[in-house]
């Protein structure tokens, strides 16, 4: 006889804890499921900024939040993708598709063909989102223009502390039972199958039907270490004064030995540094930041990082989330994005008691699909500089190696395993990394070079005209999204 889960307890800290409680409460409280939180003292430094992808709008809908209010309350800015200053070039990776329409047969391949003999290093003029972003423009298309909505798909930058406050208020409103703990050590009674029986807090045993474990820093034998693919060793962040212009993108700048990411907010910008240097060489990174004018006024506080993933985060009656399950280094995917993905997958497979082994296994398999795509995309940011990766099999995840090879040869992508990364993001990233397909698409072979060139030129002109009519990101924010706290 199966019964419904009635009591869920979440253990952890930070914004990921608030997000978990918020999503679960909205999805499960209507079904009479009680959500309890054991909030541990934060041992880690909370992120200063949350950078989201296009999933943000859907998430607001799920949580019943008004997107506009969230952006305003969080000093938010919009984000059409990421600008890269890397490989000696300046290029853009948007969320949205290339060209004017999604799923145009072989438009990308035609563009690669046109650009092959040139020294153009980015696809910006052929992407509405990239063009707009690089011109500092932004607008959200109306519901009557789903084509433009797709072409200008966006995420946001949010002040993480404000965002956390919104989630906390939501949890409170939902009636989540919240217990702040003073000690971060919990006595967790777990059997060999991973089932948690009780958790003892201040001498009192707590029971639940299902547990979510977001506790960071636990050593776990089942972790896969990704240091060889994602060599981030140290991380630092600080808030800097606002820049004169608010760009509708995050900027990723390659350093010797790392990356620096800047994210604009309406009340300042956040600088995040991801180093893959040894501790003794961090001074080199700091020197580069000074040269770039990005160094903080005080001493940089570095945090050690080691990228890893838990192969099967759902064990027994407990799902590990956040840093307890995965750390991708934070350059491309934030911890919060990984938590959200995991929760959406979990709710789709929401179990009854006793928990089915196949359901759990299936969740872990789906999770691995996300992990594989996310790892490939993140690892591509740490490739050695090269115009060919055909001989790098031993240094790369096999799926990434196959993807690089296929792109180098045909300008195509191997099939995705999840929604972690869009095809467009891959095209822009691989092109930006300097890869150029060897073969042209036969689908376009009946067109002359001039015809292909002219077709891509027309698209470029149409995009330029479209972008010319858009307001600047700052104008748009000032008019529709001024900060609530001003």
């Amino acid at each position: 006889m199966n019964t419904t889960i009635k009591h869920i307890t979440i253990m952890g800290s930070g914004i990921e804890l608030y997000m978990t409680a918020a999503i679960l409460s909205v999805a499960l409280l209507p079904f009479g499921i009680n959500i309890k939180v054991l909030a541990l003292p934060t041992t880690d430094v909370d992120a200063l900024v949350e950078t989201t992808g296009p999933e943000f709008s859907a998430l607001c809908n799920i949580l019943g939040l008004v997107e506009r209010d969230v952006v305003r309350q969080c000093y938010g800015t919009f984000r059409l993708g990421s600008r890269y200053l890397a490989n000696h070039h300046d290029w853009f990776v948007p969320f949205a598709h290339l060209g004017l329409k999604a799923q145009q047969d072989d438009f990308e391949q035609g563009l690669f063909q046109v650009l092959k003999p040139t020294n153009i290093n980015n696809l910006n003029p052929w992407s509405p989102a990239s063009s707009a972003a690089m011109s500092g423009k932004f607008a959200i298309a109306g519901k009557d223009r789903p084509d433009l909505q797709q072409a200008l798909d966006y995420g946001v930058h949010l002040d993480a502390a404000q965002y956390r406050q919104i989630l906390a208020t939501l949890c409170q409103k939902q009636g989540v039972e919240w217990r702040e703990l003073t000690s971060s050590s919990l006595q967790v009674d777990r059997d060999d199958l991973g089932n948690i029986g009780t958790v003892v807090v201040d001498g009192n045993p707590i029971k639940a039907d299902f547990w979510f474990d977001l506790r960071a820093g636990r050593s776990h034998i089942a972790w896969q270490d990704w240091q060889s693919y994602l060599p981030v060793t140290f991380y630092a962040q600080w808030q800097a004064l606002p820049t004169q212009t608010l760009s509708p993108y995050s900027q990723l700048q390659q350093l010797q030995g790392g990356w620096v990411k800047t994210s604009p907010l309406q009340n300042g910008k956040v600088v995040q540094v991801f180093s893959h240097q040894k501790q003794c060489d961090l001074a080199q990174i700091e020197q580069q930041l000074i040269t770039l004018g990005l160094a903080p006024q005080s001493t940089i506080s570095w945090k050690a990082v080691r990228c890893h993933v838990l192969e099967s985060p759902w064990q027994g009656n407990c799902l590990s989330l956040g840093e307890a399950a995965i750390d991708l280094g934070g350059l491309v995917f934030s911890k919060l994005q990984c938590v959200q993905t995991a929760l959406v997958q979990f709710i789709d497979l929401f179990p009854d008691l006793p928990i089915g082994e196949h359901n759990r296994q299936h969740y872990n398999n789906v999770w691995q699909c996300f992990v594989q795509d996310a790892l490939d995309f993140s690892a591509a940011h740490y490739l050695p500089q090269s115009t060919s990766y055909s001989n790098c099999l031993n240094d790369l995840p096999k799926s990434l190696w196959q993807r690089l090879q296929l792109f180098e040869r045909l300008g195509r992508l191997t099939p995705m395993h999840s929604d972690a990364v869009s095809e467009s993001q891959w095209y822009h990233l691989l092109f930006g990394l300097g890869l150029r397909p060897q073969l042209n698409s036969v689908v376009l072979s009946s067109m002359t070079e001039q015809q292909v060139q002219s077709a891509t030129q027309q698209v470029k002109q149409s995009i330029a005209a479209l972008v010319a009519g858009m307001p600047s990101h700052e104008q748009y924010l000032a008019r529709f999204y001024p900060p609530l706290n001003q």
């Binding site: 419904t4 299936h362 398999n365 090879q405 296929l406 045909l410 099939p415 036969v442 067109m447």
Partner: protein
Amino acid sequence: MSTTQNKTRQQVVILGGGSSGWMTAASLARFLCPHHYCITLIESELIGTVGVGEATLPHLRSFNQLLGIDENEFMRETGATYKLAIQFPGWGAKENSYFHPFGLSGQDINGIDFHQYWLRLRQHGKALPFDQYSIAVQAAKQQKFSYPSDNPQDLRADYGYAFHLDATLYAQYLRKYAEQRGVQRIEGKVAEVRRHEHETLDAKRGDIACLVMESGQIIGGDLFIDCSGFAGVLIEQNLKTGYENWTHWLPCDRAIAVPTERIENPPPYTRAAAKSAGWQWRIPLQHRTGNGIVYCSGYLNDQQAQDILLKDIEEPPTAGLNKLRFTTGKRKATWQYNCVAIGLSAGFLEPLESTSLYLVQIAIQKLLEHFPSRTIGDVERDSYNRQMDNEYLRVRDFIILHYKVNQRQDSDFWRYCQNMAVPDSLAAQMELFKEGARISEYRQGLFLPASWLAVYLGQGMLPKRYDGRVDLAPLDSLENYLANFHQQLVNAVNLMPLHSNSIKLTKQMAPSLYPAAPRSLYGINA
């Protein structure tokens, strides 16, 4: 080597006509520039075609659209009728029947899949059969057809459609299309296949160099496409690629086909009725009806199969019997050296789910995406093979499912199928469903959850439990909701024209007065 072909152009040689040969030729002629590519198709009128794929999937609409073929003209030229579903009598219990529609059954409620609610109502004896909540099934039952709506809010948007067509006429139609676009057809049989013995600038050792015809003519090529059917003249007889035999999972190995007279108002669905050791198809075209029996020779001899077929056909035969033998499986690699096998030469899966032309179509699409230069690289070949392997495996598992979850106790054949081991991938999928009514949704390949549900629930494979969250809804409200939903479907179908009237319209309609082909099997909302 004496060859009349222009060596400055890349030579593509297709061996074999029939549906797969001419679909390939037409597609290549549509996209490959005649200044850079020369396409030759070799076929012999002395070798018959199998005529596979008279029943199709909605994907064929995308294929025709890609070629720029007008759908109404296509229907006139191929004697096609519309198809909304496949009916499966006798696959669950012997006396039961269900439909696998090209559409969704029900709609999600509060973010939880419809079938979870249905399972709860069924437990209380208050649900209609699962397929009755599909508009495509309602239309099929009433022999109605109209185009799906393009408004996602409309109930009539929840389905797609395919065709029943005359495969021989389709091949002829595409031949005309291809020849008009420069494909050169050579009549005759291949006597010898010659391969490169040494590496050259454009070819690797072992690549096929040329085909020597019985007439002595030599056809050189850079890329050879084997559409020679079961024989696999290039991919198997010459390149010895090897074959994965799947008969332990799909034991049927023979078929007998017979055409019968046309049906006045043809049903807009294929029928695949289970028999004592196999199944019998019925495919209504405009000018005739296709019939046939697929059976396992280990349990049914040829005469018995023939007797069953002729006893159960509903219209008088119009021609003699056509007998076939096959081994279900797939080539170990469908692209070997400079040879790509497409259609029956690549593999054979019985047409229970009308996948034959889909597998041809997807092979062509993948070939175009991976089309090589004169010197073929391992990258494109390996990627193509990986993707095609996946396509075949997905279809294989879904077809095995029908046999595995049969509920029949009336023959050794069906008992064997119930007890046989299945591939791990299918076993995992089935266990997931049995445990809690969940379905693993593939990212690549055919058949999404709507199809799996149709078979599981249609054949009576029920899970141990459903999502407990649906118990929160009051039973009466749920019952009313489903009853209203069903009534809305029936009302919508009542307003649709008869299938035969919709077919008549294609004879008068201007080109393009039909909806664009969606990429999904189940309509625009899937």
